[in-house]
């Protein structure tokens, strides 16, 4: 995400102040983001009802890096606490007049293997160009 209207300090505040993060992320948080903190969030999802999202805060390097671990897409069962997490990193840098924010979510390959559902075979060809997206990223 690039903005040419908000300085790094503003974006940093929107990311790391729990009330502000809650406002744009649309989550209600029960505490502050500090290194090592475990913050519990509540999300109202149209599709899944009320979801609990746990934020295990890792690093805060002022105006540069904010990171936490969580369970991505926590739907489909009640207790994710025993499962491995992915790491979400928000990295900030300066662009002329504004801020570049890079979000990287990694570790999808460490999520727990379980029995896979049988899925139908299909011959969709479009997946090849998506290969580069696979394995460990959500990068905007």
């Amino acid at each position: 995400m690039d903005t040419d209207r908000a300085p790094q300090s503003r974006v940093w505040q929107a990311l790391t102040r729990a009330e502000e993060f809650g406002a744009w992320f649309e989550v209600k948080l029960d505490g502050a983001f500090t290194p090592g903190a475990h913050v519990v969030g509540t999300v109202d999802s149209k599709r899944y009802g009320q979801l609990t999202v746990d934020f295990m805060v890792e690093r805060l390097e002022p105006e540069r890096l904010f990171s936490y671990r969580w369970h991505p897409n926590p739907v489909g069962k009640d207790d994710f606490s025993k499962e491995p997490t992915t790491l979400v990193e928000f990295r900030l840098s300066e662009v002329p007049g504004g801020t570049r924010l890079t979000v990287i979510e990694s570790g999808f390959d460490k999520l727990p293997p379980e029995r896979r559902a049988d899925s139908f075979r299909s011959n969709d060809a479009g997946w090849a160009e998506q290969m580069k997206r696979i394995e460990r990223y959500v990068d905007k």
Partner: protein, 113 residues
């Protein structure tokens, strides 16, 4: 993005796919099967630094993740891509990517207000 495939997939279903793909050799094997269609081990070994045995081992990992399947043909086994699980994994990443897109749009508006 296909909604039906995303709803069917969850982290537990897609993680073995990501784990199997998290290796350069295996990604290259997938790419070759994608371009070349079903191939024998002999063909897959041609032009590679790896031994037949090593390639077989990697194909085994991909097969256990449901990404390839091998069919015996005479004395050889012919390996082909099985895209269903890859599609499922892609759908799952697409969903997460879309959620981030939306959240970051809201963030941009939030900081620019």
């Amino acid at each position: 993005m296909s909604t039906s495939s995303t709803e069917a997939a969850g982290p537990a279903h897609v993680a073995p796919v990501f784990a199997a793909l998290g290796d350069e050799t295996r990604l290259a094997l997938i790419a070759r099967l994608c371009e070349g269609g079903p191939l024998s081990i002999a063909r897959l070994t041609t032009g590679s630094d790896l031994t037949r045995q090593a390639i077989t081992k990697h194909l085994g990992v991909l097969a256990r993740a449901g990404l390839v399947s091998g069919v015996r043909q005479g004395r050889e086994r012919i390996w082909a891509l099985d895209p269903a699980h890859l599609k499922e994994a892609r759908g799952w990443l697409d969903e997460i990517s879309l959620q981030w897109d939306r959240a970051l749009d809201r963030l941009r508006k939030f900081v620019e207000d």
